[in-house]
Symmetry: C2
């Protein structure tokens, strides 16, 4: 087992990564401040892991309330959030009740936001069961629900007391979701650690085979990289923006196709290939480094080109309204070398069009 | 005009108190970080002051979005909160939009909570137009909405960038609400400033006549006292509890009668008389000091006894489930002298019954 500390002053917390962690009462015990814990999970994850987590939390001395939410991004809404409040109030949970989020990013976002605002804030433990949640959403403290007029429009920054990332739970993850998580793992290597990027090139097959040691290393190194970035820039001013590498193009793909057609990690995979292509086209990195990114994304089984039928004009339009657009200028996270990213807002449109043309499926 | 600084590190903010402040663009300008401001108010306050505030905010350089909510505690709900989000998203407000709360405590609580969670937090200015909001809810950063199963169950601590308390707006306040605000003013004197308590004894008639200089002094001194307490104890651990003087009995009255029968300040008025009586009964203060509190509450036109028909057993039951009850023991804020309060959890039931018997209307 490895332990990473996310350094955020009095809101610092540990991320424990390893095998068969969810059954260990000692990992929960130090973070259960009161006598009760509300385990929030989804209809998909509950039959797999809820009873094991409940047993461990009870063994750690807390009374357990179970809250099972409908699964999927379509349910990341006010209505689902209110189901959590209803359950907490019906069970007379007070401000010392700890909320435990067991599941992927959607459960983490809803349960985390519930923890941020229930009685003006209660403690929160994350037990992520998808690779995406383990490498991405468990670090940074972002919580939110969607609004019909926009994704993640209502939320809070609320840091967990602890994250318990059990890579054994990834054995039950659908292959498509495993690959989607790998997109963010590759991103972490690309933006800040060339050695880790090299390790991924050597170990992609082990990750796809779900070897626990390889998964543990990938999760640990991803969390270390993201934690370092977030620790330096908690509220997303500058450095934190580099975590959006591949996301400007990726969001345009998700939004242009309609959310749900491609999963987020697939869009980010193709988006990273585009951002690397654009970086090379601008002379910021050699073509060989752009090719390495394309090759690694392909080996993870992710798309390396945008979908046929999404035109360049539509990308430009969608990227202009993306939240990273500042005063009309679309901003891109580009590479200044493999392992180092930078925010650029001055990219000539012909170069963007050239990248889109080169990186779109026929 | 007086200016009080609430010292909360990087979340410190000024409270400006005086006459005809809402028209002054210079009071808004330093706190409008972006190009747009959403003015959130109620159907009651909008016809009185919205246009004047909108004019001043526009003169300070911001585009104005107006959001008018249904009035009253019954509308302090998710549904009303969502009206704010709908309006902000429809107007394409981003994370640089400043929310301006214009109205009493309900508007401040809803608009403040909206500011805490819209796009994970946007800047917030309070323009309180009731005495209660000026002396109480504008300091402390508490925001919330009610849930069918409990008041203020969902909320956040979110400090404003500035509070603009224009005592001229109190000229239009219904008399009953003016008196209710005075309950909290008296409370501030009773728990921490005997000189201010004495000033209130000498100036109650001027306050009831709404003399601007007297109101300004009462608001300033109340905010200074509350700010000092909150600054020392932002998250409500110990000292901040003393601000609940009169509230343990008061909440029981509100809850026992059904919310809305007595307004909050009326219940706090009678509650303070009870808490003072109990303090004297326990030998903590001389009877003469308890009598001074009773007399001042009476001169403010507030009830000095609980309602007929609310039995002692019912008080004890309601106070036991109050959130200040810790491990089954009801905790009271009592006086150790006029101007100094303390939290006590060891009060024998016969003494509590004696106080209830002495302080209930026949």
């Amino acid at each position: 087992m490895a332990s990473i500390r996310v350094a955020l002053g009095e809101r610092s917390y540990p991320i424990e990564v390893g095998e068969r962690l969810i059954d260990d009462p000692e990992l929960y015990r130090p973070h259960l401040s009161g006598g009760s814990a509300a385990l929030v999970t989804s209809t998909v994850v509950a039959p797999l892991y809820l009873e094991r987590v409940a047993r461990a939390v009870r063994a750690a001395g807390a009374e357990v309330i179970e809250v099972i939410l409908p699964d999927g991004e379509a349910h990341k809404t006010w209505q689902t959030l209110n189901l959590v409040f209803d359950a907490l109030l019906t069970a007379h949970c007070d401000r010392h009740t700890t909320i435990v989020a067991l599941g992927g990013g959607v459960v983490g976002d809803i349960a985390g936001f519930a923890a941020a605002v229930y009685q003006r804030g209660v403690p929160f433990i994350q037990v992520p069961t998808t690779l995406l949640a383990q490498v991405d959403s468990s670090v940074g403290g972002k919580t939110a629900v969607n609004h019909p007029l926009g994704k993640n429009m209502v939320g809070a920054f609320h840091q967990p007391r602890a994250v318990i990332s059990d890579v054994t739970t990834l054995q039950t993850l659908p292959m498509r979701e495993l690959r989607a998580g790998l997109a963010e793992v590759i991103k972490h290597g690309a933006i800040s650690d060339p050695a880790f990027f090299g390790w991924l090139e050597s170990n992609m097959d082990r990750l796809l085979a779900r070897e626990p040691e390889a998964l543990t290393h990938a999760v640990v190194r991803s969390c270390e990289i993201k934690a370092a970035v977030v620790g330096a820039d908690e509220r997303e001013a500058g450095l934190r923006a580099t975590l959006n590498f591949g996301h400007t193009f990726g969001h345009a793909i998700e939004s242009g196709l309609g959310y749900g057609q491609w999963v987020h990690g697939e869009a980010v995979g193709a988006g990273m290939v585009m951002a690397a292509d654009l970086s090379a086209r601008l002379g910021m990195i050699p073509p060989a480094e752009s090719a390495r990114i394309r090759s690694l994304v392909a080996r993870a089984g992710l798309p390396v080109a945008g979908p046929a039928g999404l035109a360049a004009d539509r990308y430009l339009e969608l990227m202009a309204v993306d939240k990273k657009a500042s005063r009309g200028k679309t901003r891109f996270i580009l590479l200044e070398r493999l392992g180092s990213a930078t925010l650029r807002g001055d990219i000539p449109e012909p170069q963007i069009r050239a990248t889109l043309s080169a990186c779109t499926s026929a």
